[in-house]
């Protein structure tokens, strides 16, 4: 039985709600306000321009380019993090000697501080001293001096690979916990019915972990969209702006050019984008729960 106590209830959630109001929701409103101003230093003092800043921004191709990069980045990283995480979870759900050790080792990338992961990958990708080119040579594909981060077409692939590496253990961790709660007798029953591994996976495993799977997909997508330091350290958005995503672009606009108005416009647009995506995902989750 829950106790009915309005005053105490509000009192106890008060600090958290107040904190979020002051530190998240009010700043968001403030962002909205700044986004309606022209703050380009070369135009003199900031002035009110209403929505025309947004119109100009959409006409200017840069936002579309950044948006495209952000979507490619988020979709690829989130998809492969979850896919590899699921594969790893299925492997590690089987019993084998030294399983605990393998589990700990596989978790290391996720626990490694983000900047350090980025710095390490920078070294791995180095065209001369990096182990990646050396690995390719060792595998017998001849000497390579590929500049993984400096080649425009390749840089996006490189940062995506590093980000997948950094985050897949989180998906694995959550999915592994979900797999362990799947009742064992269901598998026994389906074995008697003659179902093979693949059928078992689609008819028993996947439905039972779908709740956690959806939460993981949502969290991972949002985190990836906001993931700043990997790209900031690896490429800084280059070469020729081919890896700029929303957070790095916002950083460049605000703290490189001090154009807070334009940066806020990008923030507001990315906020709305994230918000809509989460809304769709959450509705999807609730719909499935009811069925």
């Amino acid at each position: 039985m829950k106790t009915r106590s309005t005053l105490l209830g509000y009192l106890l959630i008060g600090p958290s709600v107040l904190l979020l109001l002051v530190l998240l929701f009010i700043p968001l409103m403030y962002s909205l306000q700044i986004s309606l101003q022209d703050t380009d230093l070369s135009h003199g003092a900031p002035r009110w321009i209403g929505l025309s800043g947004y119109v100009d921004m959409f006409k200017n191709g840069e936002l579309l380019k950044i948006g495209k990069h952000s979507i490619v980045w988020t979709a690829c990283v989130a998809f492969f993090q979850v896919a590899i995480g699921l594969g790893a979870a299925l492997l590690l759900n089987r019993k084998f000697p030294l399983r605990w050790l393998v589990r700990v080792l596989v978790l290391l990338p996720w626990v490694l501080p983000g900047v350090i992961a980025a710095l390490t990958w920078r070294l791995v990708y180095d065209s001369q001293f990096g182990f990646l080119n050396s690995l390719i040579a060792k595998l017998g594909f001849g000497q390579h001096a590929t500049d993984w981060l400096g080649t425009p077409g390749l840089a996006m692939f490189s940062v995506i690979l590093a980000a997948i590496w950094k985050g897949f253990p989180f998906a694995m961790l959550m999915l592994l916990a979900a797999l362990q709660s799947v009742p064992h007798d269901q598998y026994e029953a389906s074995k008697i019915d003659g179902a093979d591994g693949l059928r078992q996976f689609f008819h028993i495993t996947l439905p039972s972990i779908s709740g956690v799977l959806k939460t993981v997909i949502m969290l991972v997508s949002i985190w990836t969209f906001n993931y700043f330091e990997m790209i900031y350290v690896l490429t800084g958005g280059g070469p020729i702006r081919s890896t700029h995503i929303a957070p790095t672009y916002i950083y460049e606009l605000s703290f490189g050019h001090f154009n807070f108005g334009e940066a806020s416009r990008v923030s507001v647009v990315s906020f709305i984008f994230i918000f809509l995506i989460s809304l769709i995902l959450i509705r999807q989750m609730h719909k499935n729960e009811r069925n």
Binding site: Y30, G87, I116, L119, S134, A177, I222, E229
Partner: protein, 277 residues
């Protein structure tokens, strides 16, 4: 049948080996670089296992003047954030799981939705607010910003831990004459201790490695935290990779140990929070 079994075993072993290789490959470079002397660092092609192992990079990292300062700054910010976040979140989680009041669902959703906030969307207004309050380059400013995005996660985790504690336990304590507050302190807090530990550790892990806010708010070099401080080794003209990787290892070890300790608790909190939405 036998052959099929052998085949699946081999496939399984290959899968595990591939997984391990993928996860550990960058660590090999990290470790190898940190153990090489400076003249071995830049041989082409790179040597994977250094011939003469040297610890001089570790010594250099520890001797680096600001390293200890950065470490203490990071420790201070993370510990204070943890304590404050836990106090605020335990209260909220108690309220959400044990009390009934109008708007409970609404406020719970507000807190849960805050997790989905686009961090880069609030960095600018927060920067402006913090700077107009004169809190740039001050720890309170950074700690406040960290609280904004760790409180939602902490409430989420603690709520899922508290849902697992049967209400009967408090009720029986209250029958024996304890007040609601006494029942909370005497019954719930002791059972919740592992959950609080896991949540605190998670908050610690997030703040210990936070990058963007620290980069923007702390422009004074002496106030920097470790994640920004480590960029020092990336000199203006040439990066001192050996020392940088040694420093990276030193920074990561406490994190790894902390994580190993809280792993089990953390996972159960995260997954239950995910299923009991």
């Amino acid at each position: 049948m036998m052959i099929k079994r052998m085949g699946s075993r081999i496939m399984f072993a290959v899968g595990i080996a591939a997984l391990l290789f993928f996860s550990l490959f960058p660590f090999m470079q990290m470790l190898s670089t940190s153990l090489k002397s400076s003249d071995q660092l830049f041989t082409i092609p790179p040597v994977w296992i250094p011939k003469d192992i040297t610890l001089s990079n570790f010594a250099a990292a520890l001797r680096h003047q600001q390293f200890a300062d950065y470490f203490l700054n990071s420790l201070f910010v993370s510990v204070v954030t943890c304590v404050l976040v836990i106090i605020v979140s335990v209260l909220a989680a108690y309220s959400f799981t044990r009390l009934e009041f109008p708007g409970r669902k609404f406020f719970l959703n507000v807190i849960l939705v805050s997790q989905m906030f686009c961090i880069s969307a609030i960095v600018i207004p927060l920067y402006k607010i913090v700077s107009s309050l004169g809190l740039l380059n001050s720890y309170p400013g950074l700690i406040l910003a960290y609280m904004a995005f760790t409180v939602p996660v902490a409430v989420w985790l603690l709520r899922s831990f508290m849902l697992n504690i049967p209400i009967d336990m408090e009720e029986s304590a209250m029958m024996e004459g304890a007040s609601k507050l006494q029942a909370f302190i005497k019954v719930i807090v002791p059972i919740l201790r592992p959950g609080i530990g896991a949540t605190a550790a998670y908050v610690f892990l997030i703040t210990w490695q936070e990058f963007l806010f620290s980069l923007v708010f702390m422009t004074d070099p002496s106030k920097r935290t470790l994640p920004i401080g480590i960029m020092d080794f990336k000199g203006q003209y040439e990066t001192n990779w050996g020392t940088m990787m040694a420093a990276s290892i030193l920074i990561s070890i406490p994190v790894f140990i902390l994580f190993l300790v809280i792993q089990r608790q953390l996972i159960s909190g995260l997954t239950e929070g995910a299923t009991k939405g």
